[in-house]
Subunit: 242 residues, 2 copies
């Protein structure tokens, strides 16, 4: 399945969010990663101008958000749901890390709707909420300070979903106009000559200098225009020394 | 090297941040991932109670933040720096994705201090800022809406750094002995001076020459010995021209 279609089948569910700013931040985070389906379970304040302000360009997600009364309603019609949780749970279900869980969620989005559920800012999800979901997922964090902001947690998970949905990524950049072999050899000859005249390089006692210089510029993969600049610099030095 | 030690050698540099809330959010994001060294280049409002509130438990990072006047100051003493950028650059150096760049940054933290640089909320980093850094890094995002909140961007990158630091792939190659920021700046100053004396560069009419040269050498990480060779060549030219 196309990665963008997969992302379009993943619901982000925010359960009982206290601060509307975090709802806005979550919407923005979702949209930056190509997700769009926001569900709000019994939010404290929504709609709210603070949410609108923090959404900053993702107001469409807020306008289309589904507000529901219970987590059950938000999960209706899904084939898989993951509960994002920081706490170690009593029952020892294996908790998957975000990176491990993301490809699984994306794969199941090929079958139907998938949900990723986030709890409140202060206490996360209840044990009952977690039990309603198919699996717990956690974000690896500093054990001494693991409290991620809600918007930041949504950002991280949506990023992992995007990475999983779109891998391998298409080649990003147009290729530069590289100097040809002959042009690069011409540059090296020019430099060697100028270094010899200036006394920096002694052809009778070559050591490893030329090799080091070739290695340096070989790593750069010089472009045509850059070879012209470098040769221009050398020529200016030569004229000055005449 | 121990992963936690690597994270402790990575500076997060926020350049000219407008909103103190984002500084607080960045501090919290850093601490959740085990990073602690925050640098602020000319922040609009700092310290500020809004930053303290958003840091929410990461106030120690704000208290220890280094406030500096320029990006150069923030990069002093680093061996590698990455500029976080969303925009496609004019003539782009290969931009690494966050996931690809993180293991590299962590590996070089074994050699010394490393920096990750974030620009302003509205316009990101200037081309000059990006040119001061060793490489550009971007966060893969929705091309139709790629504007991540600053705190969210810091969260994502710090997460990738933590993932890389705590699951280190075996280093394939022995790491080269890189030139420091100060050594590279010294080289650029030396070259500029020599180009000016030789007449190739006219400071009164600068055009884009210096930028092109920075981009050329910025594509590779110059090693200490290479900087010495390049400066040796320039010095020989200068002596010859005297």
């Amino acid at each position: 399945m196309n990665g963008a279609i997969a992302l379009d089948r993943i619901r982000i569910v925010l359960s009982r969010t206290s601060h509307p700013g975090n709802i806005g931040a979550a919407a923005r985070a979702m949209k930056t990663m190509g997700l769009s389906r926001l569900y709000l379970v019994d939010p404290a304040c929504f709609p709210d101008p603070v949410a609108d302000a923090r959404a900053s360009g993702a107001g469409d997600l807020l306008a289309n958000a589904r507000v529901v009364g219970s987590l059950e309603e938000a999960l209706e019609g899904t084939v898989l749901s993951a509960a994002v949780t920081a706490r170690r749970r009593e029952r020892s279900v294996a908790v998957r890390g975000a990176r491990e869980a993301a490809p699984e969620l994306v794969a199941f989005a090929g079958q139907g709707e998938v949900a990723l559920v986030f709890g409140t800012e202060t206490s996360g999800l209840t044990n009952e909420d977690v039990a309603l979901c198919s699996m717990p997922v956690s974000i690896p964090a500093n054990p001494a300070f693991s409290s991620l902001n809600l918007g930041a947690a949504v950002q991280l998970l949506c990023y992992e979903l995007r990475m999983a949905a779109l891998s391998p990524p298409p080649p990003a950049e147009p290729l530069p106009d590289l100097a040809s072999f002959d042009e690069i050899e011409g540059f090296h000859r020019h430099l060697q000559e100028a270094m010899t005249v200036s006394g920096f390089y002694d052809p009778a006692n070559p050591k490893r200098l030329l090799q080091r210089i070739r290695r340096l510029f070989g790593r750069i993969r010089l472009e045509k225009e850059e070879v012209n600049i470098l040769r221009g610099i050398i020529s200016a030095f030569e004229r000055k020394a005449d």
